[in-house]
Symmetry: C2
Subunit: 350 residues, 2 copies
């Protein structure tokens, strides 16, 4: 298969971890005889420094012309604490999601057997957890109208959803549930929000076309508890943008390390794959960042294009690194392995 | 001291648990020679059934004329799954908060030594946790304009904040931090939301008047992780309405049981005290609901009026019930004690 892959390394540890994912994709290319065409482009704080904007036109164009985007990380503390800043690195990512129409963010949450001890949650609570979050990614309060009065004393954000925005991701989520444990949980705040009531109405209606899937509802405050109290109850969670941001980061602690978690953001025509950890500025350049999340996001990319065997080969190699303890220090105290060595080990085992 | 206390038992287990809190307040009355005047009024689903509205005028008037409100619980499943319902029991509570001007919801989060095993979180993670959440309660997306188009295909909620709304709760939170571990964490989403940037600006400015308090910022998605990863890092958390709803419920799992958690909602002129658990319809009428959260909300009421010794007496009696195992079955499997007996035991020990 020939695939054009845009590489957007971004900020902080982004470039370091992305380099390991690329190593693994190159190993897949050789072993399975594919042809991946990699092209790099700047995004985020680094693009602001170089080109004045977090998402240069040329970067967007490259992404549009590619089959998929492999993303590193975004954000730099130097832009964080200025409430009056007009442009922020994060806008690059938000704009990219919007422009590429990446309306669904998909995050698997799994408890990994070798990492049960790393989680702050008790073993009996998390063992066997296996669910996936479908977060709406191009609507809601993230993209609604933002206002503030000239005096700067009042500010607002609009959370708006249309039936179409809800229904396209709902179909994806129901289809996913159909191929899994056949349970879909809609997380909303329908006892307070008008937009949540629309979600409930549309999702209920769509559910009728998926009679084999059991649909249930959970208020987001309750969901925030249930994810910690009993994560095994979930199969597919569907939710809007802001709630998805919160509960998917919350869910990330189940796995024992945020350094392992990948996500896919998909649309009609394009798809972007990224680790869920951020730019982790404290670790930048130290060769200590965990590359596994980035490598697993490359595996999700392969899966997305139907390369199941290839994706499995990557996941097995990751598994081996975990079992053999060839991991960065976040997973094993005093580990001598750096980002690069872990990447080499995994690529070598594909 | 003479105090007029409005009793709003509400729905589900509300009446059962509230009755135990009243028992305890009566014990305080006798032991410490106070005079509490209790008056009951309907709210929630039960008020809808009786009077057609979740917050009858007479109930609101009673609350306004009282020094404080002791609240049970609200919500009934029969009103939950109708997205077209025009009135919902929860509106009674929201309207009450708004009408009484209860702009700050205060929720202590503590790990109780006898309950470390009940928490889904590991002992080493939660032991020694002691923080308090200040959640803005009468603004934001809960009360912003709600719209939907006539075809019912688009719906929206507005999240709006003004400087005044932010500053009055910020002052409360800074004062609380000053009397505690001198750390205040503002939870927001300033990298995306205009309203969050206003929060950051106003809170930063107010922080200058509290130089002894260290102020830091956390994005809500990160906060949702940190609360589970390392809850001991927190002292006072300040946040807006919707984020506060989510993270305070999330934080509730730390204590090992939601059945223990009380909250105070305060304004300039009035205050309301309630357990954070809901109406828990499955348990209604079975004498199994844990009355401790309701009893501890009565203790918060006493504290609010400067009755520190009295509040301590209630808390010590609760402590005794926990240590002696005189608790409902949610805290000790096969416990033979019911809601009433636990209430009696605690009241008796005041
Ligand atoms: C960086 C930020 C804007 C982004 C978001 O909130 O969507 C991130 O937290 C994420 O979840 O991908
Ligand atoms: C019942 C509901 C409207 C309410 C809220 O969301 O504020 C509840 O969850 C709470 O936290 O007190």
């Amino acid at each position: 298969m020939v695939l054009k892959i845009a590489l957007l390394a971004g900020d902080g540890v982004g470039p370091e971890v992305l380099a390991q994912a690329v190593k693994c994709l190159k190993a897949v290319e050789e072993t399975f005889n594919h042809h991946f065409i990699f092209k790099e482009a700047p995004v985020g704080a680094i693009a602001m420094d170089k080109k004045g904007v977090p998402l240069p036109d040329s970067t967007l164009r490259l992404c549009q012309e590619s089959d998929a985007v492999l993303f590193g990380a975004i954000g730099d503390p130097k832009y964080d604490n200025d409430p009056d800043a007009k442009v922020r690195p994060e806008q690059g990512l938000l704009q990219l999601r919007k422009e590429l129409g990446l309306f669904a963010n998909i995050r698997p949450v799994l408890s990994h057997p070798t990492l049960l001890d790393k989680s702050p949650l008790k073993k009996r609570v998390i063992k066997g957890t296996d669910f996936v979050i479908y977060r709406e990614l191009t609507g809601g309060i993230y993209f609604g109208e933002k206002k503030s009065n000239p005096e700067g004393t009042v500010a607002s954000d609009l959370c708006e959803y249309s039936e179409d925005e809800i229904s396209r991701i709902a179909h994806l989520a129901f289809k996913a549930a159909k191929g899994r444990k056949k349970k879909l949980t809609l997380v909303d705040k329908a006892n307070v929000l008008e937009s949540s009531r629309l979600w409930r109405k549309v999702v209920t209606r769509i559910g009728e076309s998926y009679p084999e899937v059991t649909l249930n509802f959970l208020f987001v405050d309750n969901a925030a508890m249930q994810i910690i109290l009993n994560p095994k109850q979930f199969d597919v969670i569907l939710t809007e943008n802001m709630f998805g941001d919160i509960i998917s980061d919350e869910g990330s602690v189940i796995g024992g390390s945020i350094g392992l978690l990948a996500s896919a953001s998909v649309g009609e025509e394009n798809a972007l794959f990224e680790p869920i950890h951020g730019s982790y500025p404290q670790a930048t350049g130290k060769d200590i960042a965990n590359p596994i999340a980035s490598i697993l996001s490359a595996a999700m990319l392969l899966e997305h294009f139907g390369l199941a065997e290839e994706a499995m080969a990557v996941k097995m190699a990751v598994d081996k690194s975990l079992r053999k303890g060839v991991v960065t220090p976040d997973l094993r105290e005093n580990s001598q392995y750096g980002t690069n060595q872990v990447g080499d080990f995994i690529a070598h085992n594909i």
